[in-house]
């Protein structure tokens, strides 16, 4: 039997990683909710941001949190560029075209990273990479806690932005009903561009803050996109609140399954849940059926 302190420790690590997953999934689900595009390259955008953060640390000695000043605007721009050059041209194409073209972007990012950095896993060691704070029976790893706090703050900021600002309302209007939004004066193409860029920026933020405790290779994106799929579906595709709950749930399931069963079996269980949700509640565990 596993001790209670070990379980608590696992739950804590699930909470931390789940928060980061939630941020990644929210970027993904925002893009899908608004533009109807399933962005297979989303996980690879996390990977790309990890490499940029890595390079800034290695070359300029910039701390991953400080490097956000560069990474966030850079990836908002990359998102915008990607949208204008590629995504915009297939918005009205069938889903199969969305999947293939974003797979093309995935392959582009992966092979570009492979060409520049090679296939090995790389990481950085910051002053706080191995630091932790002992609280009662558990040790709180600072780097992971920091990533979780930043992720949750970003999720909150995004939620406030979508609810309170005019642009946020325009985004939600376009997500709800594209033609209707256009009729009442929402600049739909601009909203699409901004949503895609914001989604890309969310991926980049998550990528940057996990650099202090995660290794990066050109291939880590696959794991992130699979998580984003599962979380977004659990939460109901397009739902920001659902993605937050789904992210935490997956974080806990992952942490506990690695404790009690093997990680690969835990992965199988996660996908079995995904299938069950898709069959019985395609609008997500936490979502409501749309009429």
């Amino acid at each position: 039997m596993v001790g209670l302190d070990v379980v608590l420790q696992a739950l804590l690590s699930g909470l931390f990683m789940g928060s980061v997953y939630a941020l990644i999934a929210i970027g993904f689900t925002l893009v899908f909710g608004v533009t109807d595009i399933v962005n297979f390259a989303h996980g690879h955008l996390v990977m790309a941001a990890m490499f940029v953060t890595y390079v800034l640390f290695k070359l300029a000695g910039l701390d991953p949190y400080l490097s956000l000043v560069v990474v966030l605007p850079l990836f908002f721009g990359i998102g915008a560029l990607l949208y204008v050059l590629v995504i915009q041209r297939i918005v009205d194409a069938p889903h199969s075209a969305h999947m293939m073209v974003t797979l093309g972007v995935l392959l582009l990012l992966e092979n570009l990273a492979n060409l520049l950095f090679g296939g090995d896993l790389r990481g950085v060691t910051t002053r706080y990479t191995t630091s932790s704070l002992v609280v009662g029976p558990v040790a709180v790893p600072l780097a992971r806690a920091g990533a979780a706090v930043v992720s949750l703050l970003a999720v909150g900021a995004l939620a406030v932005f979508l609810r309170r600002t005019a642009l946020g309302k325009a985004i939600r209007a376009a997500a709800n009903n594209r033609e209707g939004a256009a009729l009442v004066g929402v600049d739909v193409p601009r909203v699409y561009l901004i949503s895609f860029s914001l989604g890309t920026m969310a991926a980049a933020l998550a990528g940057a803050v996990i650099v202090p405790f995660s290794l990066v290779s050109p291939f880590v994106g696959h794991e992130f996109i699979l998580k984003a799929f599962v979380i977004a579906v659990l939460g109901g595709l397009g739902s920001v609140g659902g993605a937050l709950a789904g992210g935490l749930l997956i974080g806990f399931v992952e942490a506990l399954s690695s404790l009690y069963i093997s990680a690969s079996l835990g992965n199988a269980i996660v996908f079995a849940i995904l299938i069950a949700v898709l069959l019985y509640r395609p609008w997500g565990i936490f979502g409501q059926a749309k009429v």
């Binding site: 590629v86 999947m99 392959l107 582009l108 092979n111 492979n114 060409l115 799929f229 199988a268 995904l274």
Partner: protein, 317 residues
């Protein structure tokens, strides 16, 4: 029509004569291209003709690889027969999956995600299944035993792969003209309209997935016999699925020649580049993949019907 037949026969003759002039490296590239073309054609049956965009075909590929291998190792059944058993099993799994999925009316992107999830579940289970050696995988011994689908030279593998591709092209052409094939197309173009005009769409979709799954399994068995090593990380991952999709979508989904064209261009050329006579081919190989990624994006944006539509006059969508 007869001009097309003559062209086809000429291409076949050229392909049959290729091993006479190609070295072993080039022959490997040809085998990889033919294998990819076969996989693409098999996926195309469901995704191209019937519009059922599965992302979980690695599951059927893996079933084929493991079924023929385990039957050979445990029961001594020759893989020549084992591959048919694998195809039967994959077909059953495909039908079961389709019945479950279509019963709940899962479509489009949700269908893609369910099938992707099914393949991921299979990989997780395979990783934890000791009887099939889990993540370690299974190594087959290299030997010469033509009756058991083992060859020391590349030529026999090449001809097997060629025969598989030719057979599947013929099946695809036959399908295009059959009533079943017409039902597939009707489902793809407009499911509600097909249903309204009397097509049993559930049945058509289920048959499409089952048939496509069974055909895909043969490719898995071929992989096991050619590479002599299978593991969840080689046959149950997204890689085979990607090979199928790239070839099909680049060449032209829902056609009998598009998947072959796209696969030869993408997989065959990539493999050929790997054996260039340089010291360090790595930048060339990765660079070519980079070029492929860009090509894929450009082709799908500007030629959504794939390369086969290049020669045709553009039709109104």
């Amino acid at each position: 029509m007869s001009a097309r037949l003559a062209l086809g026969l000429a291409a076949l003759a050229a392909a049959a004569a290729a091993p006479l002039v190609a070295g072993q490296h080039l022959l490997t590239a040809f085998i990889v291209a033919l294998h990819a073309a076969y996989m693409a054609l098999a996926w195309n049956v469901a995704a191209g003709y019937a519009g059922q965009f599965s992302l979980g075909h690695s599951l059927f590929y893996g079933i084929g690889a493991y079924a023929s291998t385990m039957l050979y190792l445990k029961l001594g059944l020759t893989p020549w027969a084992g591959m048919f058993a694998g195809a039967g099993l994959a077909g059953l799994v495909g039908v079961a999956l389709a019945l479950g999925v279509y019963r709940y009316n899962v479509r489009g992107i949700f269908f893609a995600l369910v099938t992707l999830g099914a393949a991921e579940v299979a990989k997780g289970l395979a990783d934890n299944w000791d009887w099939i050696k889990g993540p370690v995988g299974i190594l087959l011994t290299m030997k010469s035993a033509p009756g058991e689908f083992f060859f020391l030279r590349r030529e026999p593998y090449y001809y097997v792969a060629l025969a598989m591709v030719v057979a599947l092209i013929l099946i695809s052409l036959r399908l295009e003209r059959s009533r079943l094939g017409q039902h597939f197309l009707a489902v793809r173009e407009d499911e509600a309209a097909a249903e309204a005009s009397g097509v049993d769409t559930q049945r058509a979709k289920t048959v499409a997935i089952g048939l496509s799954a069974a055909l895909t399994a043969f490719a898995g068995s071929f992989y096991a016999q050619f590479y002599l090593y299978i593991s969840p990380d080689t046959v149950l991952v997204f890689e085979p699925q990607l090979t199928m999709m790239l070839g099909t979508m680049v060449g032209g989904a829902g056609t009998a020649l598009g998947p072959v064209l796209g696969s030869v261009l993408f997989s065959g050329l990539g493999e050929a580049l790997r054996n260039l006579p340089f010291e360090n081919t790595r930048p060339v190989v990765i660079g070519s993949k980079l070029v492929y990624a860009i090509l894929l994006i450009v082709i799908l944006i500007y030629l959504p019907g794939g390369l086969v539509t290049l020669g045709r006059r553009s039709r109104p969508a």
